[in-house]
Symmetry: C3
């Protein structure tokens, strides 16, 4: 039994897919897996749009996507058409969409740690995030402790 930690900085559908394919592969083999969500990566866990303090924070919160269905592709996004085409292609080829991968990560006991500073910056509360069995809020020292205890640590 090993251990893996990922820091998901990106809010791209395709990069998040890579992160959770690796996370689920390791968790399925019995590894302890932690995914640390920071910056754009937090958008993956948002339930719905909400206002912020003042125009500036509200604008950022409106712009940032909520959940996998709203994430863009890092390339060939085509104003949001890209991800839905990719999703359709994945389903036809019997692969797993990001939505499938996230649900499986929850089932396999992957630990989700959400960056405290990113939440504060966007004025988000943990209640505005999707519920996962093992989701908690943490800071950079949490991340470093986990990363140092991991066999493999990747920034995605």
């Amino acid at each position: 039994m090993g251990s893996l930690s990922l820091i998901l900085f990106s809010g791209d559908y395709d990069r998040a897919m890579a992160a959770f394919t690796i996370a689920n592969g390791a968790a399925g083999a019995g590894d302890k897996v932690t995914v640390f969500f920071t910056f754009w990566g937090v958008s993956l866990l948002r339930k719905r749009k909400s206002a912020g303090k003042g125009i500036l924070q509200t604008a950022f919160k409106k712009l940032m996507p909520c959940g996998p269905a709203e994430l863009p592709l890092s390339r060939f996004n085509f104003a949001g058409l890209g991800p839905s085409l990719l999703r359709r292609l994945i389903r036809r080829e019997k692969g797993q969409t990001l939505e499938d991968l996230l649900a499986l990560a929850g089932q396999r006991g992957v630990e989700f740690v959400v960056c405290q500073a990113s939440l504060a910056l966007l004025g988000l509360t943990p209640q505005e995030l999707v519920a996962f069995p093992r989701l908690r809020v943490g800071d950079v020292h949490d991340f470093l402790r986990t990363a140092k205890g991991s066999e493999v640590c990747l920034f995605i």
Copy 2:
């Protein structure tokens, strides 16, 4: 003698240059080096455009570049002009282009592992990829095994 593994997710000319500069540096010093190609990174190894199953897969295959000469820059791409300008600048400064770096990686015995799921998604066969002395197809468990056995593992 050490070991290094890289996961090349990106299909950008500049990011792939960074990956193979690191890979070749390590391989030149006698390290065992493995590069795992996934998602957009697979485009680096494609020989030529080909049709897929149905309109959707064919569209993705048409869009995805084939080989280093078609890769875009992550910034200042200028509709494809950027990479050729960068290549020219590299040659004038006696540096190594991505094409040079790839050839050297082959000579230095860098192992190329292509992600099975990415090939399946795009309906690509190993025969449609450039031949490298040590190229093989592998899955996420191959990657995890290699990554755990490496001193350094990077996601690029």
Copy 3:
């Protein structure tokens, strides 16, 4: 006391913020921290615009930003408006801007290593870079040596 190494390839304001948040967290806890600046990441350390050899190098040097204030966001850049809005939001939320994080990294003794090949490609001299207490020029072998001696190594 541990050790951390980061390779900062990206020249995005937000990605550099993530890099220095991690670097400063580790350095503040007593770790030995090295940040290796390569490719677009070098733009973070440039003092001012300068001409290069010939039109091509001069064009690249004009395009590449100088210092944190000129870095774009990886998303929602809005032709350069994004970073200044983010900076304002960070200040209001009592967070640290990239400028703050860089200054703190200097104070905490983070080692800055600038990629020799990237400097050569752009015709930059170390004199054209911002002075940091522990800044030096290094090559890929420097990076590999440091990375192998680190508990955690990330490519950003």
